[in-house]
């Protein structure tokens, strides 16, 4: 029938994994009818659970917990653990030490694992034919569009002073948005250089091609404080920062 233009269907799924809500949103003609869609979404969530089993510091039997207790030597590490440890070293170098997984309390790669894991999982969604995808893991986002005609995803940047408000809207097609701040979990980020809890900024949002690095730069930028826009521009021209002060 002509003249009957169906708007793209959209479907969402939410699961609680790694102690946070993880939402998958898909847009496209087949998102409610294609049997492959729910299979791939289930695979995304399963991959994130597998990461949690390996890396969670809340699980005493995870590899990271065993490394922290000195029970696991590198030759017994899972390949993903080797990969993450390598990335943690790279992140420390690229952020002048503002991102550091080797805390006084022990090795804790949690700040990097999330972005790394979510980006890997989102790659499964991006392979779905004819679908635009958006994976939001507790406020950190990976998006993808499958066609030049697809509209951008409109990402609301939350106001850390009033979490019921949107400070800005960022349109993004294929890329990532990460926010670090104290609005949700209190002052949980530490400046590795001083051991202090930074309070110059309330939140830092970073947009760029990968969630792994957007998230690292958002956390490091929050710890750095001050002019995070210039700080990031000098280090990673592909990424853009938005800092929100008190």
């Amino acid at each position: 029938m002509t003249g009957f233009e169906v708007t793209a269907e959209r479907r969402s799924w939410v699961r609680q994994i790694m102690g946070m809500p993880i939402s998958v949103h898909l847009r496209g003609a087949g998102v409610r009818s294609d049997p492959v869609v729910p299979q791939v979404v289930a695979e995304v969530f399963e991959q994130l659970r597998a990461v949690d089993r390996l890396f969670s510091t809340y699980r005493s039997d995870s590899q990271v917990s065993r490394i922290r207790r000195g029970e696991l030597t590198p030759d017994h590490w899972h390949p993903w653990v080797h990969e993450v440890v390598g990335l943690c070293e790279q992140a420390r170098r690229r952020t002048d030490g503002y991102f550091d997984a080797w805390l006084p309390t022990g090795f804790d790669p949690s700040g990097l694992v999330k972005g790394w894991a979510v980006e890997r999982a989102a790659a499964l969604l991006a392979e779905l034919n004819g679908c635009d995808s958006c994976l939001n893991a507790g406020g950190d986002i990976v998006t993808s569009v499958c066609s030049p005609n697809s509209p951008a995803w409109r990402v609301g940047i939350e106001d850390p002073r009033d979490r019921t408000r949107i400070l800005a809207v960022q349109e993004i097609r294929t890329g990532a948005v990460a926010t670090s701040g104290s609005a949700a979990r209190g002052a949980h980020i530490i400046d590795p250089h001083t051991g202090d809890r930074p309070d110059e900024l309330l939140a830092v949002t970073v947009t760029g091609p990968t969630l792994l690095w957007a998230d690292i730069y958002a956390t490091a930028g929050f710890a750095h404080g001050g002019d995070v826009v210039s700080w990031l521009r000098a280090r990673a021209p592909d990424y853009r920062a938005l800092g929100v002060g008190p």
Binding site: V6, P21, T164, V177
Partner: protein, 149 residues
């Protein structure tokens, strides 16, 4: 065709579960937002399809299924006019203890505002400091997730 499309029944349900969630070890969904899909989407030629809400042209009052939470049943109703959420209110709020009252007085007004604001800003998703799982139930993202479930 348009007339037919505009009569397509759409059900939008936003069910908010208000409960605590402390560890990173649980893997089951704790917040089920929305009990029925908004399907089929009414056809509206040229309408943007990305808004965090029902398609343009949808009108009516939609009531979510009551969700049993450990604080009691919670049910949310939204009013949609021209595809926009114009108001949201809670139909059932558990009031069994002072703790319930505290939780609900904090959570429900925030949800109501957020639902309306999300719609007026036409956003698809929200970036913010990492939600706790408790915080999610009160969040803008959970309202958006619910509309599309």
């Amino acid at each position: 065709m348009r007339r037919i499309a505009s009569t397509v029944a759409a059900t939008v349900s936003i069910v908010v579960l208000l409960f605590s969630y402390h560890t990173s070890t649980n893997q089951d969904p704790v917040a089920v937002v929305g009990d029925q899909p908004l399907a089929p989407q009414p056809a509206t030629p040229g309408a943007p399809s990305t808004s965090g809400a029902p398609s343009s042209g949808t009108n009516g009052t939609f009531t979510g299924a009551a969700a049993d939470t450990r604080y009691g049943p919670v049910q949310v109703q939204i009013i949609v006019s021209g595809g926009r959420i114009t108001s949201a209110r809670t139909l059932q709020v558990p009031q069994q203890s002072s703790k319930d009252r505290r939780i609900n007085s904090a959570a429900v007004p925030i949800l109501n505002n957020e639902t309306v604001q999300a719609q007026s800003a036409r956003i698809d998703t929200v970036s913010g400091a990492t939600y706790t799982s408790e915080g999610y139930a009160q969040s803008l993202q959970s309202a958006i997730d619910g509309v599309h479930q």
